[in-house]
C-alpha cells in the first residue's frame, strides 16, 4: 500500500473548441491523511483539476489513481460514493430535510434505516448542529454557515477516505469562515481524511494546508511544498508575487503560541494576599505590573505600582481587570491581535480551563519573527543568494 492516497498522472483537460487545454499534464501525489490545497489565480484550472478527481469533469487524458487503484475508467457513480464532495455553493437539496440531505450517500449505499438515523445524528453533532433542533429543518431555514456545516456533514456521511472541497468557505462572512476553518481543522485531526482543498486565498491555503500546490495557468505547478517552505523559500517569482508582500505577517499565522517561549517570570499574587505583600513582590521583580490569580489559578486583575498608593481593602477591586487571553494553540497572529486590543500591550496565555500559563509580549513575537527570518537567511546563505552586507534575500 502506497503512502499516497491520490495520484494524478499527466491529467489533462481540453474543453471542446478551445485551443489550449484548461489543465495541462497535472502530475501530483497527495499523501494519505493530509490536506493538499490548490491555490492560484482565477481561471488557472483549480476547479477543473479538482473535478477531474471524481470525474465530474472527465479528463481528456491522463490517469487518476486512488488508494493504488486506477479509477480513470471505473463506474463514476461507484467512484463518487467513496469520495466526499463539498462545493462553495453547497448545493443542499432544498426540497428535503437536513437529515435527508445528510443521509444521501448512505441511502445510495443501501444502509438500513436505524444505521442511517444514528449516523445522521452523529454527523450533525460532529459539525456542531444539535440534531434535535436541526434534523427536521429545511435548508432554507438555516444560515449560510449552518448550511455549509450540513454540506460538510453530508460529504462525511459514509465516512469516505477522500474529501474534495472547492472553496468550501468562500461564500461565508469572515468571522464565520474563521470559525468553520478552525472547527474543520480540529475535526481533521481526528478524521485524518485525505483532502484536496481549492481556494484562491493564499491565507486560507496557508492555514488549511499540510501542503500547498501553487498553480499557474493550465494548472502548471509553480511550487508544491509545505506552507513553511512556500513562505520562507518561494521557488520562483510567481510564487513570491502570489504570496505577496505580507509574507512575514502570514508567517505569524503559521506559528502557534505553544511554539514560542512565552514569559513565565511575571510576578503573580492571590486575591487573599495583602496589598503590602504584593507591592513588595512587584517591587522585587523587573516587571511593571503584577497579575492577580483567583483560587483556581485564573488571572483576574493587573496591579501596577501606582495602584498601591491608595490601596482598596480588597485586592479584587484594585488595578485593572485582566484582559487579552490566548490559548497555546492560538497563532501568533491571533496573539498579536489580542495584544493590540488589550490596553496592557501583552497577552495572557491560559489553558483550556483558563489556568494561567504565562505572558506573551510584543518582544516575544519579534524574537520569533527574527528566528524565522534567520532560518530563511540560513537557506539563502546556503544557496549563496544572500548579500552579506544587507542580510536581505534575493536582489
Amino acid at each position: 500500500m502506497s503512502d499516497d492516497m491520490i495520484q494524478l498522472e499527466e491529467l489533462t483537460k481540453r474543453f471542446p473548441g478551445q485551443a489550449e487545454p484548461a489543465v495541462d499534464r497535472l502530475t501530483m501525489r497527495v499523501p494519505r491523511g493530509e490536506i493538499v490545497v490548490f491555490v492560484g489565480p482565477s481561471g488557472c484550472g483549480k476547479t477543473t483539476s479538482l473535478k477531474m478527481i471524481n470525474r465530474i469533469i472527465e479528463p481528456t487524458s491522463g490517469h487518476i489513481i486512488i488508494d493504488g487503484e486506477d479509477v480513470t475508467d471505473v463506474d463514476p457513480d461507484e467512484l463518487r460514493r467513496g469520495i466526499g464532495y463539498v462545493i462553495q455553493q453547497i448545493g443542499l437539496f432544498p426540497h428535503v430535510t437536513i437529515s435527508d440531505n445528510v443521509a444521501t450517500v448512505p441511502r445510495l449505499l443501501g444502509w438500513d434505516k436505524d444505521r442511517i438515523t444514528a449516523r445522521t445524528d452523529e454527523l450533525l453533532e460532529i459539525v456542531g448542529l444539535d440534531p434535535d433542533l436541526y434534523r427536521d429543518r429545511y435548508p432554507k431555514e438555516l444560515s449560510g454557515g449552518q448550511r455549509q456545516r450540513v454540506g460538510v456533514a453530508r460529504a462525511l456521511a459514509a465516512d469516505p477516505p477522500v474529501l474534495l472541497m472547492d472553496e468550501p468557505f468562500g461564500a461565508i462572512d469572515p468571522i464565520t469562515r474563521t470559525r468553520l476553518q478552525n472547527e474543520f481543522l480540529r475535526l481533521q485531526e481526528e478524521l485524518k481524511k485525505t483532502i484536496v482543498f481549492v481556494t484562491h486565498d493564499i491565507d486560507e491555503a496557508i492555514k488549511m494546508g499540510d501542503r500547498i500546490a501553487i498553480l499557474r495557468e493550465q494548472s502548471h505547478i509553480a511550487q508544491f511544498a509545505t506552507p513553511e517552505e512556500i513562505l520562507t523559500q518561494p521557488a520562483n517569482e510567481f510564487v513570491e508575487d502570489f504570496v505577496g508582500s505580507g509574507a512575514t505577517l502570514k508567517r505569524l499565522k503559521l506559528s502557534r503560541v505553544r511554539d514560542v517561549d512565552w514569559l513565565t517570570d511575571c510576578p503573580t499574587g492571590r486575591l487573599d494576599d495583602s496589598p503590602e505583600v504584593l507591592r513588595q513582590r512587584l517591587a522585587d521583580s523587573d516587571w511593571t505590573a503584577l497579575l492577580v490569580l483567583d483560587d483556581r489559578d485564573r488571572p483576574v486583575r493587573w496591579l501596577r505600582a501606582p495602584d498601591f498608593h491608595h490601596p482598596a481593602r480588597e485586592v479584587a477591586r484594585m488595578g485593572l481587570p485582566a484582559v487579552a487571553f490566548v490559548r497555546p494553540q492560538a497563532t501568533l497572529s491571533d496573539a498579536l491581535e489580542e495584544m493590540l486590543v488589550g490596553s496592557a500591550g501583552v497577552a495572557i496565555v491560559i489553558d483550556g480551563q483558563g489556568v494561567y500559563q504565562g505572558i506573551m509580549d510584543v518582544d516575544v513575537i519579534i524574537a520569533s519573527i527574527q528566528a524565522m527570518r534567520d532560518a530563511t537567511n540560513e537557506f539563502y546563505r546556503a544557496a549563496k543568494l544572500v548579500d552579506p552586507t544587507t542580510g536581505l534575500a534575493g536582489s
Binding site: 460514493r81 462545493i87 432544498p94 428535503v96
Partner: protein, 219 residues
Amino acid sequence: MSFFTDYLADPSRQARLLEMAVEHLVLVGASVGVAVLLGLALGITAHRVDWLAPAILNTASIFLTIPSLALFALLIPLVGIGATPAWVALVMYSLLPIVRNTVSGLNSVDQAVVESAKGMGMGGTTRLLRIELPNAWPVVLAGVRVATLLVVGIAAIAALVGGPGLGQEIYQNGIRRIGSPGALNALLGGTVMIVLLALLLDLLYLAIGRLTIPRGIRE
C-alpha cells in the same frame, strides 16, 4: 323567460347540465392526463438532449397557434367525429404549457444542487426522479394548471364536431337556435357552467399544490 326562475329551475335541465359538466370534466381530464405524460416525456427529452429542444418546443407552439375551430375540423377526416377529434385536439393544445414549463422547471433547478447530487454518486435516473423533478415540480404544476384552464374553454368547441361536454348546450341549444326563445339562456347556462368548472379546477390545483409541493421549496 328568466334565466334563474325558468331556465335553471327546471329539474330536467339541471340534470342535463350536470351530465354535460361531467362529460366536459372527463374530456378535459383525459386530455390533460395524456398531455401530462406526453409533455413530461417530451420536456425531459428536450432538457436532456439539447439539440432536440428547439424542435420539440416549436412543434408544441405551432399546435397552439392553429385556430381551434380549424384544428377540430381538420381532425375529422383523420379520426372521424365525436369524442376522438375533441380529445386529440385538446391533448395538442395542452402540450405546450406542460412541455415548456417542464423544460424551464428543469432548467431552473440550481446547478449546484444537480452537481452535488452527481458528486455523491447519484445516477442519471435517480437524480431526475429524486432531485430534478421534485425541484422543478412547482413550475411543472403551474404549466399543467395553465393547460387545464386553457382547454376547459377550448373543449366547448368539441360540440361542433359532435363531441361531448357543455359545448353542446352552447352550440346546439344556443348558437344554432339564436333568435328563438331560450337560446340566450342556453348560451348563458353553458358558459356559466364552464366558468364555474374552471374556478373549481383552479381550486383543485391549489389543493394539489399544497399536497405535492415539498415544504422546503414552498413559497
